[in-house]
């Protein structure tokens, strides 16, 4: 197993392949800032929940033109931030469940968003684990891959509490 590229995003910092990327904003606003600077032409970004925005931006900066065979992500809090937002739309007198919000109440949607953007018709998998180290054996057991995969931790528990560490991993 060999890691060729790596990105880490926290609400306060972005580090791509060891190099920090300077940003003006923090938290959710920082993800939008990164979108406006590096992506620009994918308005679907604004429909996404914070978890998907986080994974999307991380994959965007990390992959560039590198094709990958699979997207394997894990986190601890599943889709709790968007679940909480959806719950607010069905609680109390203002009952108005939104299908646009409901679809993001699954933690694997972020893997689907990345697959669509990068035309990845290989595997997409989402695991809920205690900590990032638990993902390693899962990735290792994914044998016989000719192309690299995109894998890592993509965690979001609130608009300004998230962290992602994604890598491009090769089998040789």
């Amino acid at each position: 197993m060999r890691v060729s590229h790596e990105i880490e995003i926290t609400p306060a910092a972005v580090v791509l392949n060891g190099q920090p990327i300077a940003t003006n904003e923090q938290g959710e606003k920082m993800l939008v800032e990164l979108y406006r600077r590096y992506v620009k032409d994918y308005p679907k970004f604004f429909k996404m929940d914070t978890l998907s925005r986080l994974g999307f931006i991380a994959a965007e900066l990390l992959l560039q033109d590198q094709p990958v065979a699979a997207v394997i992500l894990a986190n601890r809090s599943a889709s709790i931030k968007n679940d909480t937002d959806y719950l607010a739309t069905i609680t109390g007198e203002n009952y108005y469940p939104s299908p646009a919000l409901f679809v993001y109440t699954l933690p694997n949607i972020v893997t689907g968003e990345i697959a669509i953007r990068h035309h990845i018709q290989g595997e997409t998998s989402c695991y809920i684990l205690e900590k990032p180290e638990q993902l390693e054996p899962i990735i290792l057991s994914q044998i016989n891959r000719q192309s690299p995969i995109l894998a890592g931790w993509c965690e979001c528990s609130g608009p300004n509490t998230f962290n992602a560490k994604l890598q491009i991993i090769w089998n040789n």
């Binding site: 719950l87 409901f102 679809v103 109440t105 689907g112 990845i120 044998i143």
Partner: protein, 314 residues
């Protein structure tokens, strides 16, 4: 290759795999029209437990029934939970409670790949055991219905007001369901059912609509049937949610893979769509229905994800 040691299903149709298989054979369904559950603004048709169940005790009961002689406290055993909403939106803590209840020292793995989770969890077990990382795996699938889920599917206009009609021209949507099921797998060679292959593919098309060409499902089917004559396959367990587009997508994928003449099973009219439990429940029923031969189980879900596995019993 991994081998099935034991299994169990707890659903509104009964306690234990046998009771559930007998219910299916007798044509009994858990589907009912409900007007007074989950503060629903309109009546809905679903397969629900008469008495509301708690997630963790339900899973524990299912594992108890399936475990037989297996030593679940052994460090070479891994617990894998398939669920989409877990216990009140928390997915990891309930998995940990279940594993701890049986004295298992390993942090459990939760697979949350939308409606394909139950098949993906079995694929995860296959890989981890094949890699020699563990000797046995306890694969549990469970989801319990809530106002959260019912309201969301209602907002999606995906629910049929009456019992669902998979692959019918008159189909109106899906019914939700509650169940838990467990399969215990071992890497030790034994007689009976074995899980031979698994495949997961994304459509890379849309997060909430299936691919018109069935691309991901087609790729999963060709992966797990590679080198196998369709005439050798005894049963294809389809997803068959009875939504307009997903049934169409599956038909396209099955035809593209040349499997249109394979006998098919569709279980949603009995259990409803049990979400994280579906892949485990439907795998067990398929194995019990045919008793021997080659069984392919496929599923697809939100996020554009598709999965299939191949099981065999000689």
């Amino acid at each position: 290759m991994i081998y099935c040691i034991g299994h169990s299903i707890i659903s509104p149709l009964g306690e234990g795999s046998q009771a559930n298989v007998e219910a299916v054979k007798a044509g009994r369904s858990g589907l009912k029209i409900h007007t007074d559950r989950f503060e629903s603004v309109e009546p809905f048709c679903a397969s629900l437990f008469d008495t509301p169940q708690e997630f963790v005790p339900l899973c524990i009961r299912s594992v108890e029934m399936a475990k037989g002689e297996t030593d679940l406290a052994d460090p070479s055993t891994i617990f894998i939970l398939s669920t989409t909403k877990g216990d009140q939106l928390d997915l990891f803590t309930p998995a940990q409670s279940i594993a701890r209840h049986f004295g298992n020292p390993n942090p459990p793995i939760v697979v949350s790949n939308a409606c394909t989770s139950g098949v993906c969890a079995q694929i995860t077990a296959l890989r981890l055991l094949d890699a020699g990382l563990y000797k046995s795996a306890v694969v549990i699938g469970c989801d319990i219905q809530t106002k959260f889920i019912i309201s969301g599917f209602q907002a999606f206009k995906a629910l049929s007001p009456e019992p669902c009609l998979p692959f019918s021209p008159d189909r109106k949507g899906l019914n939700l369901g509650e169940a838990t099921a467990t399969i215990i797998y071992t890497s030790e060679v034994r007689k009976g059912w074995r899980l031979e292959a698994g495949s997961i593919h994304n459509d890379a098309n849309h997060i909430s609509a299936p691919s018109r060409t069935g691309e991901g499902a087609y790729r999963c089917l060709t992966d797990v049937t590679e080198g196998i004559d369709p005439a050798e396959i005894d049963l294809l367990g389809v997803h068959g949610t009875a939504t307009l587009y997903n049934d169409d997508m599956e038909r396209t994928a099955i035809e593209r893979a040349g499997l249109q003449n394979v006998p098919m099973s569709v279980l949603k009219p009995f259990f409803g769509h049990t979400m994280g439990a579906a892949g485990v429940v439907e795998t067990i029923i398929g194995m019990e229905l045919i008793q021997r031969g080659i069984f392919i189980k496929m599923l697809s879900g939100f996020g554009g994800v598709n999965a299939a596995i191949r099981l065999r019993c000689e």
